[in-house]
């Protein structure tokens, strides 16, 4: 009782409380996100800057199992299957497409890039992630023409 009636002690408690709040803010998970040099014509940003949030590192996603009944020769069909699977993975972690900050896109033919960019425009509505395209000789299965490996940051 005597302690609480002491004005100085009270002040100390308040000050400490204030500083603890400040520490809490500094350690806070609130996400700050900035698209650096957005290039909407290329459906990507030169870079994406983030502070805070929870990071999610996804595997390379393909139109492979468990659904094999995809028209693999059709780029759009394969694209849709891959992004369906990415969406499922993201939602398991409480994330959405908008949380993707970067993705590596491995294609067996880079001539698909314009079509890829056209299709991603329908997916990223709040700003484009950073993107790296690489043409590779083969993916894990003969029928695959794309594999996408994203990183997301969840608010």
């Amino acid at each position: 009782m005597e302690y609480w009636s002491n004005g100085r002690a009270m002040k100390t408690v308040m000050l400490t409380g204030f500083l603890l709040c400040l520490i809490g803010t500094l350690h806070g998970q609130e996400l700050k996100k900035e698209f650096v040099d957005p290039m909407p014509q290329d459906s990507r940003s030169a870079a994406v800057k983030v502070k805070g949030g929870t990071m999610l590192f996804l595997a390379g996603h393909t139109a492979s199992l468990p659904q094999v009944n995809v028209d693999h020769g059709n780029f759009e069909a394969q694209f849709n299957r891959v992004f369906d699977k990415i969406k499922t993975t993201l939602s398991q972690a409480g994330a959405t497409f908008d949380d993707i900050v970067t993705m590596s896109v491995f294609l067996t033919d880079l001539r698909y890039i314009p079509e890829f960019n056209k299709l991603t425009r329908e997916i990223f509505k709040k700003g484009f992630p950073a993107v790296t395209f690489v043409e590779v000789s083969h993916l894990a299965r003969p029928q695959l023409i794309m594999e996408i490996q994203p990183i997301a940051v969840i608010p």
Partner: protein, 147 residues
């Protein structure tokens, strides 16, 4: 006195949490100018798109000239990182795609020139083709800005 001690302690904690970001290069390989890993806590992350030797209008620099394309690529990296409020020293990891593995040694020499405060982790591989027609390399980097 108690108040003073508490305040100093609290300020110290705040200061530590604000500047806690310490990067540790794990198993550096100086002769090859990379580290096996980079350990870092906190900070602002910058995920870069694959950056190649084309200018802002998409025009390829130094056709057929790997060192020239390398310099142009690093210029682009510097420009984009500066826009994000950082520098190449903030890069913690990168994947380097090249159209020919034989450029590896030249690229290692370049890393020695570019990184003066410690080497990021790095992977170097041959891709069949890169986005910019005629590009011999492309770098995909992640940076953590110094606070």
């Amino acid at each position: 006195m108690k108040q003073l001690i508490l305040t100093v302690l609290a300020v110290a904690i705040v200061a530590t949490s604000a500047s806690a970001q310490q990067r540790e290069m794990i198993l550096p390989v100086p002769q090859s100018a990379y580290s096996q890993a980079v350990k870092i806590e906190g900070g602002t992350l910058v995920f870069l798109s694959g950056i190649g030797p084309a200018d802002e209008k998409g025009v390829l620099a130094a056709p057929g000239d790997f060192p020239g394309q390398g310099r142009a690529t690093w210029e682009n990296m510097r420009r984009i990182l500066a826009k994000a409020g950082g520098s190449v020293d903030d890069i913690v990891t990168m994947t380097v795609y090249t159209t020919e593995r034989r450029w590896g040694e030249i690229f290692t020499d370049m890393r020695k020139e570019v990184f003066k405060t410690g080497y990021p982790s790095s992977a170097f591989m041959e891709a069949r083709k890169l986005k910019t027609p005629g590009a011999l390399l492309e770098i995909q980097a992640i940076a953590v800005l110094k606070e």
